[in-house]
C-alpha cells in the first residue's frame, strides 16, 4: 500500500510490470487478464498496483482509468484542446441514435417496443445497427413475455468511449431513478393517481424515493 499512499514513490516491480503491460496493450485489460498475462499474480495484488499507479498518474498528462472493469491509459481530459485538432474522428450520431443510446443506457435491458414507447416514434432498423456497429450496444437476450422480444444493453466499449467507470456513473441516473422517470408511464400513472397531489403525503413519497436512488 505504500505506493497507493504516495504518488511520488518509486514504482515497485509489479507496478512497473502492470504499467508496461497496459501501456503496450492494444485494448483495455481487466484485472484478471493482467493477472494471467503477468504469470498468475494474485488479482488482489494487481488491483493494488493499479490503484497505486492511478494515483501516481493523477497529476500527469496521461491518466490510468477504469472503464467497465477494464483498465487503460488515456490522455488527461483537460488537454483535449491540444490534441483534438489532428484527431477529429469521432462518429457523429444522429439525434435519433443519440436518444436511443441514452434510453438503452438508462433503462437496460430494454426492448425496441419500450424504446419506441418512450420516444413516441418508430425506431428505424438503421439506428440500432449504427449503435451495434459502433460496439456500444449488444443484444442481451429476449424478454420472457409474449412475443419474446429481443432486448438490448450497453457494452464495456460504451462505458469506455464515454469515460464511465460503470453505469452508475451515467449522468443524473440516480436523480432520474429517484424521480421515477426511469419507470414506465403506467407505473408512474398509478403512483400519481394514488396520491392526492396537494397532500404532504406526496412529499414523503418523494423523499423516500430519493433515499432509494442514492
Amino acid at each position: 500500500m505504500t505506493g497507493a499512499e504516495s504518488g511520488r514513490a518509486e514504482p515497485g516491480t509489479l507496478e512497473r510490470a502492470v504499467e508496461a503491460t497496459l501501456f503496450a496493450a492494444d485494448e483495455p485489460m481487466t484485472v484478471e487478464a493482467l493477472s494471467s498475462h503477468l504469470g498468475g499474480i494474485e488479482p488482489g495484488e494487481v488491483r493494488g498496483a493499479l490503484t497505486a499507479l492511478q494515483l501516481q498518474y493523477a497529476a500527469r498528462g496521461i491518466h490510468l482509468v477504469e472503464r467497465g472493469k477494464r483498465w487503460h491509459f488515456e490522455t488527461a481530459p483537460d488537454l483535449a484542446h491540444l490534441l483534438r485538432r489532428e484527431k477529429e474522428q469521432v462518429r457523429r450520431l444522429s439525434r435519433a441514435a443519440t436518444e436511443v443510446l441514452a434510453i438503452i443506457a438508462y433503462h437496460e435491458p430494454v426492448s425496441r417496443a419500450e424504446i419506441e414507447s418512450i420516444r413516441g416514434v418508430q425506431t428505424s432498423a438503421g439506428t440500432l445497427d449504427v449503435l451495434m456497429e459502433a460496439g456500444w450496444i449488444k443484444l442481451a437476450g429476449r424478454r420472457e413475455v409474449p412475443g419474446r422480444p429481443v432486448i438490448y444493453a450497453t457494452t464495456p466499449e460504451f462505458l469506455d468511449h464515454f469515460g464511465l467507470e460503470s453505469r452508475r456513473d451515467l449522468p443524473g441516473i440516480d436523480e432520474l431513478r429517484a424521480a421515477g422517470l426511469l419507470d414506465p408511464v403506467d407505473e408512474a400513472l398509478e403512483t400519481a393517481m394514488r396520491f392526492d397531489p396537494d397532500e404532504p403525503e406526496n412529499q414523503e413519497e418523494d423523499t423516500h424515493e430519493d433515499e432509494e436512488g442514492a
Binding site: T21, F23, A24, A25, D26, H37, H63, H72, F73, E74, T75, A76, P77, A80, L83, R84, K87, E88, Q89, V90, L93, R95, A96, T98, E99, L101, A102, I103, A105, Y106, I118, R119, G120, V121, D160, H161, F162, G163, L164, L170, P171, G172, I173, E175, L176, A179, L181, V185, A188, L189, A192, M193, P197, D198, N202, Q203, E205, D206
Partner: protein
C-alpha cells in the same frame, strides 16, 4: 390542474434546457426536424415553461392545434400521425372543459397526466443523451496510446509423455512387427527312416529271432511306442523285401519275430 397531479413543488433536477424560444412562426422551418408528434409536443412544452411538471396541458393542446392549423394554411403536407394526434388533442381539450360528472373512464385528467408523464420521460432521456454526448469522449477529448506495441501471446505446446508409455509403445511395435516363425512342435513319432536305421542296427547284433517289440525304445511314451511299432513293422517288411531279414508269426496277432538273413542266403 394537471400540473398539480405530480408533486408540482418538487425541484426540477435537470439544468434548464435552451432558453425558451418564443412561440413564433420559426416553427415552420423546423418541420423536418420533428421526430413525430410527441417530439413536437415536447418542444412546444419546453417553450411554455422550464419545468415539464408545471406545463399547462390545455395551453399545450392549443399550441399544437395552432401549429397544425398554420401548417395546413401553408399547405405543408403533414404526416398522418400528426393529424391523429391533433384529433386526439382536440378531443382531450373538449373533455377537459366538460363538467366533471359527464366524464368517461379513463378521465381526461388521467389522459392529460399520461401525456405529461410521457413528455417528462422523453425530455429526461433527451437531456441525458445531451449530457452523455457532452462527456469527455475517447477519440475526441481523450486519446488512447497512438502506437501501442501490442501484447502478443504465443501459444506453445508442451508435450508430455512418460517412460511407461514409451516402452509400452516400443513393445507394441516389436510385437506387431516381429517376424513370425511358425514351428511345428516335435510330435511323438518315429519316422520310417529312423525305424529302418534302428531295426537294421539291432539286426546286426544277433542272428537269433527277435520280437519286433524289442526294437521299440524302452522308455518312450505310449504315443511314441505306437508310432515306433508301426514304423518298425514297415521297416521290417522293407528289410524283408530287400532280402536282409525274414519274418515269422505263429498265428494271427501272435508276436511278430524277425531274424537277420546271412549275406547271400536269400537267393
Amino acid at each position: 390542474m394537471s400540473a398539480g397531479l405530480q408533486g408540482a413543488d418538487q425541484p426540477f433536477m435537470f439544468p434548464p434546457p435552451d432558453p425558451a424560444k418564443p412561440d413564433t412562426s420559426a416553427l415552420y422551418l423546423e418541420l423536418d426536424g420533428w421526430e413525430g408528434p410527441l417530439d413536437l409536443l415536447l418542444d412546444l412544452a419546453r417553450r411554455q415553461k422550464v419545468d415539464l411538471r408545471q406545463i399547462s396541458i390545455l395551453a399545450l393542446v392549443d399550441q399544437y392545434l395552432t401549429y397544425i392549423e398554420r401548417a395546413g394554411e401553408m399547405r405543408l403536407e403533414l404526416a398522418a400521425d400528426y393529424l391523429v394526434m391533433a384529433a386526439w388533442l382536440a378531443y382531450l381539450k373538449s373533455a377537459l372543459l366538460l363538467p366533471k360528472e359527464e366524464q368517461e373512464d379513463p378521465s381526461p385528467e388521467e389522459l392529460a397526466l399520461r401525456l405529461q408523464l410521457r413528455l417528462q420521460r422523453l425530455g429526461a432521456m433527451r437531456e441525458a443523451a445531451a449530457r452523455l454526448m457532452g462527456r469527455d469522449r475517447t477519440g475526441r477529448d481523450v486519446f488512447l496510446r497512438g502506437a501501442p506495441e501490442g501484447l502478443r501471446t504465443d501459444r506453445k505446446t508442451v508435450w508430455r509423455s512418460d517412460m511407461f508409455a514409451l516402452i509400452q509403445a516400443y513393445g507394441q511395435v516389436k510385437a506387431r512387427t516381429a517376424p513370425r516363425i511358425y514351428h511345428v512342435a516335435n510330435r511323438p513319432v518315429m519316422t520310417l527312416d529312423s525305424a529302418l536305421e534302428r531295426v537294421s542296427a539291432m539286426l546286426g547284433v544277433t542272428l537269433e529271432w527277435m520280437e519286433i517289440r524289442d526294437f521299440l525304445p524302452p522308455h518312450a511314451s505310449p504315443e511314441l511306442k505306437r508310432s515306433a511299432l508301426a514304423s518298425s513293422f514297415v521297416a521290417a517288411l522293407e528289410l524283408a523285401r530287400r532280402g536282409r531279414a525274414e519274418l515269422d508269426q505263429e498265428s494271427a496277432f501272435a508276436p511278430l519275430r524277425i531274424r537277420r538273413l546271412k549275406e547271400g542266403a536269400a537267393s
